[in-house]
Symmetry: C2
Subunit: 465 residues, 2 copies
C-alpha cells in the first residue's frame, strides 16, 4: 500500500492487533472517509479506525503520538469546511461506534452521551421526557462534531450555541491521557475553562469521548410564522427591531429571494420570490400569544405582508424541516454544479449592510448565491453554486468568500459564526485575531507538541502569520 503519511505504516502495524477489523485500510472505506459534503477535494486517510471505548481512543492516540502519525477525528462527516478530512493522511478516527446515550437526568436537565450520538437521535430518546436538546445545525450532525466545531443553528438566539449547552467533557489528549473537564454543576469558578477551550477546537487539542449536555424543557406552547418583505433590508431591519425590543424570539430566520427560488425548485412550491422571515416563539400560551402579537405589529411597521401564523406542532415541525433543507434547496439551482457554503456573523446593527453587500457581491461576480441565516444572532450563510471544472467560476467564488469574510471583520464581526475554520477560513485567522493567533499556537503546542491532532486545520502555519 502506498501511504500518504510516512508515519502511518508503523502506527497502523501497532494498532492492528488492538483493533482487529475495526482498523481498515480498504480503499473503499478510505475513500468514504476522505469524502465531504462540501466542495473540498477528497482526502482519503491512510486508515480508518473505529474505536468503541475511551480506552481504545487513548490507545490509538498513544501509538500515534509515539509514531508521530496524524489523527483526524470524524463524526457524521457533515462539516462544511473540511474539518474531518485527513489532509496529511494518517488515521481517520471515526467516533460513529461510540454512539450510546449513557444517562439522562431529567431532574437536572442534563444528559451524558458519547460523541457519535446525533442530535436527532438524542431528541428522539428525549421525546417522552418532555425535554429537548435545542442546538440544530442543518445537518443531523453528531454531538461530538457539533461540540468540536462550536456549532449552533436556528435556536441559538434563544438557547445558545454548543458553547452554552455543554457542561462537561471527557477528552483524550494527543498523548493518550484521559481528562475530565467541567462537572454536572450548572456553573463553576474552579480553574481554567477547559470545557470551552475544547469546544470549537476542531479536534486539534484533543478528542472528545464523552459529553454532558444541557437539556431544556419542551416549550408548553409554540407559535411560528412566515412573512414576506419587499426587500431584504426591510426584513433585516425588522429582525434588528425585534431583537432590540427584547422579544424572546426562539428562532428568527431570513431567506432571501434566491433562497426562496431554491425552495420552490426543490420542493415544487410557489412561494413568491421575495425575502421572507421565519420566526418562532416558545413559552406559556399567554406569553407566546403576547409575543406573537408584538412581533406581528413590528413586522407590519416594516411592511411585512402575508403573515401566516401557526401554533400546530406538526405545521411548525414541517416549517423547520423545510428550513433545514436549505443546503439541498440551494442545490436545486443551477443543476450540475456543487454548493459552496460559507458563513459570517456581524453585530446585529451591521446586519443589513452585510447582507446587502453579499447580494451585491454575488451579482457583481455573476454567481448564484442563496442567503439564509440565523439573523437574530447576526449570522448568515451564503450558498454558492459552483462548477468545479470552471476555473474562472471557482476563482470568482473564492473572491466572494474572501470579500465576505473581510466585510464581516470590517463591520466588527467574525469570519465564521458557526461553520468553523477547518480548511476554508485558515487564511483569515491572522486577519481576525492578530497576535492572538500566536497565543492559539502556543496552546496548541502545549497540548499537542508533535502536532498529530488534525494537522493542517484551523491555525495558519507559523510563517503565514
Amino acid at each position: 500500500m502506498q501511504t500518504i503519511h510516512p508515519a502511518a505504516p508503523a502506527a497502523i502495524a501497532a494498532l492492528a492487533p488492538l483493533l482487529g477489523d475495526r482498523l481498515s485500510t480498504s480503499e473503499a472505506l478510505r475513500d468514504q472517509h476522505g469524502a465531504n459534503e462540501a466542495h473540498y477535494p477528497p482526502a482519503p486517510p491512510d486508515a480508518v479506525a473505529f474505536p468503541e471505548t475511551t480506552e481504545e481512543v487513548a490507545a490509538i492516540l498513544r501509538e500515534c503520538h509515539a509514531h508521530g502519525c496524524p489523527v483526524t477525528a470524524q463524526g457524521a462527516g457533515s462539516a462544511l469546511e473540511g474539518h474531518h478530512l485527513a489532509v496529511q493522511g494518517g488515521i481517520a478516527l471515526s467516533l460513529a461506534r461510540m454512539d450510546r446515550i449513557l444517562a439522562v437526568h431529567p431532574e437536572d436537565l442534563d444528559a451524558v452521551v458519547q460523541p457519535g450520538v446525533t442530535r436527532s437521535r438524542l431528541n428522539e430518546e428525549l421525546r417522552a421526557t418532555g425535554l429537548m436538546f435545542p442546538v440544530d445545525p442543518g445537518a443531523d450532525a453528531s454531538l461530538g462534531g457539533m461540540a468540536a466545531t462550536r456549532a449552533s443553528g436556528t435556536t441559538a438566539v434563544r438557547y445558545g450555541t454548543m458553547r452554552d449547552n455543554v457542561l462537561a467533557l471527557e477528552v483524550v489528549l494527543a498523548d493518550g491521557r484521559i481528562i475530565r473537564t467541567g462537572s454536572r454543576a450548572r456553573k463553576s469558578s474552579a480553574g481554567y475553562d477547559l470545557t470551552r477551550l475544547m469546544i470549537g477546537s476542531e479536534g486539534t487539542l484533543g478528542i472528545i469521548t464523552e459529553m454532558t449536555v444541557r437539556l431544556h424543557g419542551q416549550p408548553e406552547a409554540v407559535s411560528a410564522a412566515t412573512c414576506r418583505f419587499a426587500g431584504v433590508a426591510d426584513a433585516v431591519d425588522c429582525v434588528i427591531a425585534t431583537i432590540q425590543s427584547g422579544l424572546a424570539v426562539a428562532r428568527i430566520e431570513l431567506l432571501d429571494e434566491m433562497m426562496v427560488r431554491g425552495f420552490n425548485a426543490y420542493q415544487g412550491s410557489d412561494l413568491p420570490e421575495a425575502p421572507h422571515l421565519f420566526v418562532e416563539f416558545h413559552g406559556t400560551p399567554a406569553g407566546v400569544g403576547e409575543q406573537a402579537q408584538a412581533f406581528g405589529e413590528l413586522a407590519g411597521e416594516y411592511g411585512a405582508s402575508a403573515i401566516r401564523w401557526t401554533d400546530r406542532t406538526e405545521e411548525c415541525r414541517e416549517l423547520w424541516h423545510m428550513r433545514h433543507q436549505a443546503h439541498y434547496a440551494t442545490g436545486a439551482l443551477d443543476p450540475g454544479k456543487r454548493t459552496l457554503a460559507t458563513d459570517v456573523c456581524v453585530p446585529i446593527s451591521r446586519l443589513a449592510e452585510a447582507v446587502t453587500h453579499a447580494q451585491d457581491l454575488a451579482r457583481e461576480l455573476r454567481l448564484t448565491s442563496t442567503i439564509v441565516g440565523h439573523v437574530g444572532d447576526g449570522n448568515f450563510h451564503c450558498g454558492l453554486r459552483v462548477d468545479p471544472t470552471d476555473a474562472d467560476e471557482v476563482a470568482r467564488v473564492h473572491r466572494f468568500t474572501a470579500a465576505l469574510a473581510e466585510t464581516a471583520l470590517r463591520l466588527g464581526g467574525t469570519v465564521t459564526g458557526e461553520h468553523g475554520v477547518g480548511l476554508g477560513k485558515i487564511a483569515h485567522m491572522a486577519e481576525e485575531h492578530g497576535d492572538a493567533v500566536a497565543v492559539m499556537r502556543s496552546l496548541k503546542t502545549a497540548l499537542d507538541p508533535k502536532g498529530i491532532l488534525n494537522p493542517g486545520k484551523m491555525l495558519p502555519a507559523d510563517d503565514e502569520g
Copy 2:
C-alpha cells in the same frame, strides 16, 4: 526598604520613570492593597502601580517579565478567596484608574468598558437606555475582577454568569504583548475560545484591560415574592420543582434560618426565623403574572406560607438590596468575630442533600453558619463566623470548608460556583480536576513561562498534584 520579592527593587526602579507618582511603595498604600474583606492574613505587595492605559499595563508587564517580578492585578478588592493578595510580593497592579465606559451600543445590546468600572456604575450609566448589565455578585465589584473570577450572582439562573456575558476582551499577556479575543459578534466558531480561557483565570494568564459585555433589556414587568417554609428541605424541593417545571425564574434565592436571624440582627427586622425563598420573574406583564401564579401554586404544594408578592420596582429593589447585604448581615451574628465565606455548586437534584449536610456539619462542629444561595443554579454560600485568635475554632472552620468541598464533589458538583479558587480552594483543585490540573499547568506555562502573573493562586504547586 525591605522587599518581599527579590526581583521587586529592579522592577520598581525600571517602572518609576514611567509611572511617576502612580507607582508607590508607601507603607500606607501597600497595607491598603494588602488587605482583604475576607479572612486571609494581610499580604502587602512591594509596590502598587496605577496604570491609566493599556500601553502602561503592557510596559509594566514587559519590565516585570524581564526582571521576573510578580504582578497581581487588583480590581475593587472585594474577592472572597484572596485572589488579589500579592502573597509573593512584587507589584500590585490596580486597575482602579482604568474605569471609563468607552462605548454603549444600545442597537447591539453591548458596551465596551475598562476593567475598573464597577457593576453598579455601569448600570447607573445604562439606566436611561432601557438596558442593564445583570450579573450581580453581592459586592460592588469591578467588571474586570468579575470577569477574572467568572463571577455570577442572583440573576445567573436567567441571564448567565460572566462566562456568558462577555463577548470580547483586550488582554495584556505576561510578556507585555497585547491581544484581542472575541468580537462584537454574538457568536463565532473562529478559533480557540481565548475569551472563555481568560474569564475565570484570576489574573494568572493575562491582565484584562478592556471588555465588551452583553447588555439586556430592562424587563418590562417584574414581580418578586418572599415566602417561608417549615424546613430547608421543603424550600429546596420547591426550588428543584420550579427549575424542573421550566419556569423562567429570574432570581431564586434561599435564606436559611440562621441567615434570617442575621438579617434581623443587622437591620432590626423581625422575620420569623425559618427558611425563606426570595424569587423574581422578569418579562411581559401577562407572562410575569402567569409565572408568578404558577410559582405560587408550586410553593403551596411544598407548604410555603406568608407568600408576599410585589410588582413595585422600589420594593423589588429594596428586597434585593437587602439580599446583597448577606455578608454584612452574617457579620451581625457573634459580634467580634470575622466572616469566612465559602461556596459550592451541585447538580440541582442534590441540592437539598448538600444544604442539609452543611447545616448538620455546622451544628456538629459548633459553628455559627448562615446559608444563602443562588439555588436555581445549585449554588450556595456558607458564612461562617470565626474568631481568628481561637485556634480551635479556626481549625473547625477549615474542617467545615474542606468537608463541604468534598461533599460537593461527591454529589457531582464543584468546589466553587462563583467565588473562585484564589488561595482558599487550591487544595481541592487536584481532587476536582484530576489529571486536568496538569493540562491547566501546561497552559499556564505556555502563556506565563516565568510564572509572574498572580503566583501562588489557583494551581497547586507541581508536587502537590
